[in-house]
Amino acid sequence: MSIKTKNLDRVVIRFAGDSGDGMQLTGTRFTETTAIVGNDLSTLPDYPAEIRAPAGSLAGVSAFQLHFSSKDIHTPGDTPDVLVAMNPAALKVHLSELLPGGIIIVNENAFSPKNLKLAGYESNPLEDGTVDTYEIYSVQMSSLVAKACEGMDISPKTVDRTKNMFALGLLYWIYNRPLEPTIKWLGKKFAKRPELVDSNVKALNAGYNYGETVEIFTTRFSVEKAPLAAGKYRNINGNYATSVGLLAGSIKADIPLFYGGYPITPASDILHTLASFRHFGVKTFQAEDEIAGITSAIGGAFAGNLGVTASSGPGIALKAEAIGLAVIAELPLVIVNVQRGGPSTGLPTKTEQADLFQALYGRNGEAPVPVIAAQTPGDCFYAAFEACQAAIKYRTPVFLLTDGYLANGSEPWSIPDFDDLPNIDPNFAVQNDDLPFMPYARDEKTLARPWAIPGTVGLEHRIGGLEKEDVTGNVSYDPENHHKMTELRAQKVINISEDIPKTEILGKKNGDLLILSWGGTYGSCRSATERLQNDGENVSHVHLRWINPLPKDLGEILIRFKNILIPELNMGQLSKLIRADYLVDAVGFNLVRGRPFKASDIVNKSKELIG
């Protein structure tokens, strides 16, 4: 039988299995290989909050979706073309989202009566017609890895854990991907346990050879390289990009990075990553709680370091009072919120963008804080860098909003030349013998106050959370002064808009519909806009990176469109802000399902709106 190779523009694969089946790892390896092959890609890890839910249960299903293409893509894909299900529970949870007639690859050995029962199947879906309308490949992966590793001196349990590598090998065969990057990675990962390198490589090869020799697959697929702009690329996820962006900010400002934080999902990887940067002089401090995380960072900032803290919604709530202190003390500080589903503990591992109002308003008193939101995993680098720039230049805490999807999702990233990034001048105050030091005297243009750090001769001064007298910084309860200081703090934040470039519009400058978005929904909104434009609709897209302050030219853009649609993974926070600030009849499209938007949902909603 001859095997055909078919060219595809794009493929969406979802790997699903038990939490212990190594699906995140499998997905990540496929992603790395696919990046090296030169496709554009976008990923969506989706894992449960439980570390190890009971094996085989629906609660324990962990998934990783990957969209790769020969074209420029922006989302992890609406609908999987291929579902790899390592057990019945994974099939049960994910089958309904698979493309009609799509490909299913299962580990047949896992479809035992016990696992079927755990998944809530009364009969075996592989035999009762459930999957008949799909292209199903039922493979005895567990038996095959056992055979591949026969004679090795390792436990059967350890052998069985290599079945994810078998699945990976098989998919590499189907999609014409090389094995070498994964073999190399396994060698490094298990450098101290050669028997695990051996067994995993055997399983990987077994999966690949299975495709080659067993004549059940009639077609292999190839996805050509994507026409990415020339340059050097790597694959990067949002939390890593955020961490490196913060480091880049501190190096460009030539001040050490001090990070105070407390572990929380999905922000912990920022702490982990920065902790591995000791050789850059990075100081990470795992504090006793969220409050000590931010207050130690404020202390670090007072003493002249680049103070940073990161958390997620509930942790940010605990930091609220300290953020107010940073506002009144007018110290540079970067606060990262990797948003997750709320309220309270909510959905720790799922994405949402419902903390915008928390960032804007979640403090007592008039306490304006600049807010920037990253739009893609790779953009987290630039957004973090910009947050550092603004914090230092304007002597203010700055919120950087990312989310669970951006944090764990990844994409090919055009690697910047570090020398091309601008320097950041910390502009520390120095003694001027002619004049007494005034800690709240301001720069005329930015309204920033001096950053006078302890250790500087002659600038001894006191600051604090009590209202400051203008210029001197002495404690003041004067009514006029408080009003003036409140206005000054607000104006200082507004002044950041001078640094925001002209707003880019994807599409025409006017039309029937403007899709306005912020944060991690960039990809879905961009894809939806492109599809609508291809359908001949008069639709444009504007994406906001700075939400406080908003760009100066936004108002004049909004009034040129008949309709404004604001898709958000919350119940309408930016849309309320836009309606209030610009008095335009913006319509919200709001879903909080713990997942990114499907571009198709936004397309449908848009068509509904413009009729």
Binding site: A35, I36, P181, K225, A230, K232, Y233, R234, N235, I236, V244, L247, A248, I251, P256, F258, G260, F277, R278, H279, F280, G281, K283, F285, A287, E288, D289, I291, A292, T295, S296, A297, I298, G299, G300, A301, F302, A303, G304, N305, G307, L325, A329, I415, D417, F418, P454, G455, T456, V457, L459, E460, H461, R462, I463, G464, G465, L466, N474, V475
Partner: protein, 340 residues
């Protein structure tokens, strides 16, 4: 070549006095503590511009405004955490935390114990007046059981914290107690704390003459103090009393107050040892017991590894192993590819 020595002029008390008017109630014990601090600082051998006072919220927390050094009056309970950030960002600084019984032991209890267990080289001066002053007279976590205040008209129901036992429990490396009115001794405690490398914790009994007047009167009144105060001196027997004829012995396995005479002689008395944690813990528990005198002085002082020194060593170790961080190499990553 002749050796040239630039001698900086010696600072005096006035160099540490800020231009801000002090606004504590007349008669407050805080004045005495401020005065002694300003008096002793010129002798500590620390450059003025390297001194940072960090406080939380409460009457005592206004203290930094009155010291002509760097200062940060922060938010309730968080001074130890802010001070930790300051010290880690610049270990050259001399960092002092000014706090009270509510600030350090109630709202900020968590930060206090974690600072002490980490052993950053930060000095904590806890002004203990056993009452909430700034909010006008509610009981505090060190108020005695049954304390009648505005918020506890029928008496408080919770047992008081013992600040020194708490500090020792957190394994603070320097633990001492002073009294606002014992000025020379207070200065010596500040001296000792300053010369100790590691977290130093001084509880200072401070009289709030408005809401809890005479809380420590038995220990400060001339007539009674010699019988109620046990002055701790390292390697000296635990001896007290107006005629210095009373002492502490260990009888079986419990401490006991005895009178020197036929039965008990000087050689029987327990000798204080600042490096003995068990003795320190035992002494800390005399505080709320009527039968025992109140120990004042250094309870405990040992050398332990200092957090910021360890952090600096880690950084040097990482640089030695990996080389100085190369940001471009980090951006490039291990697996990258070139699109032509």
């Amino acid at each position: 070549m002749a050796e040239t020595k630039v001698k900086t002029p010696k600072l005096d008390r006035r160099d540490f006095v800020s231009d801000q008017a002090v606004r504590w109630c007349p008669g407050c014990g805080d004045y005495a503590i401020l005065a002694q601090t300003q008096k002793v600082f010129p002798d500590l051998g620390v450059d003025k511009e390297k001194v940072v006072f960090i406080s939380g919220i409460g009457c005592s927390s206004r203290f930094p405004y009155y010291m002509n050094t760097y200062g940060f009056h922060t938010i309730h309970g968080r001074a130890p955490a802010i001070a930790s950030g300051v010290k880690l960002a610049n270990p050259e600084l001399s960092v002092w935390v000014i706090t009270g019984d509510g600030d350090a032991l109630s709202i900020g209890g968590n930060h206090t114990i974690h600072l002490l267990r980490r052993n950053l080289d930060i000095k904590v001066m806890l002004f203990n007046n056993r009452i909430y002053g700034l909010t006008k007279g509610q009981y505090s976590p060190t108020s005695e059981l049954g304390k009648i205040t505005k918020s506890t008209p029928l008496g408080s129901l919770d047992r008081p914290f013992n600040p020194l036992a708490l500090a020792l429990g957190a394994h603070a490396s320097f633990v001492a107690r002073a009294i606002d009115r014992e000025t020379a001794h207070l200065q010596s405690m500040i001296h000792r704390a300053n010369s100790h490398a590691g977290s130093s914790f001084i509880e200072i009994y401070q009289n709030c003459n408005i809401f809890n007047d005479k809380a420590f009167a038995p220990m400060t009144d001339r007539e009674t103090k010699s019988d109620t105060v046990l002055w701790l001196e390292n390697k000296k027997p635990l001896l007290f009393g107006s005629e210095m004829n009373k002492g502490i012995v260990i009888d079986g396995n419990v401490p006991k107050v005895v009178e020197l005479g036929d039965k008990w002689g000087m050689d029987d008395l327990l000798v204080h040892d600042e490096t003995d944690w068990t003795i320190a813990m035992m002494l800390s528990h005399f505080t709320y017991q009527d039968d025992f005198p109140n120990p004042i002085g250094v309870f405990y002082c040992v050398d332990e590894p200092v957090y910021e020194v360890l952090l600096d060593e880690q950084i040097k170790f990482a640089i030695k192993n990996k080389g100085n961080g190369d940001i471009q190499a980090l951006l490039d990553g291990a697996d990258n590819w070139v699109v032509e």
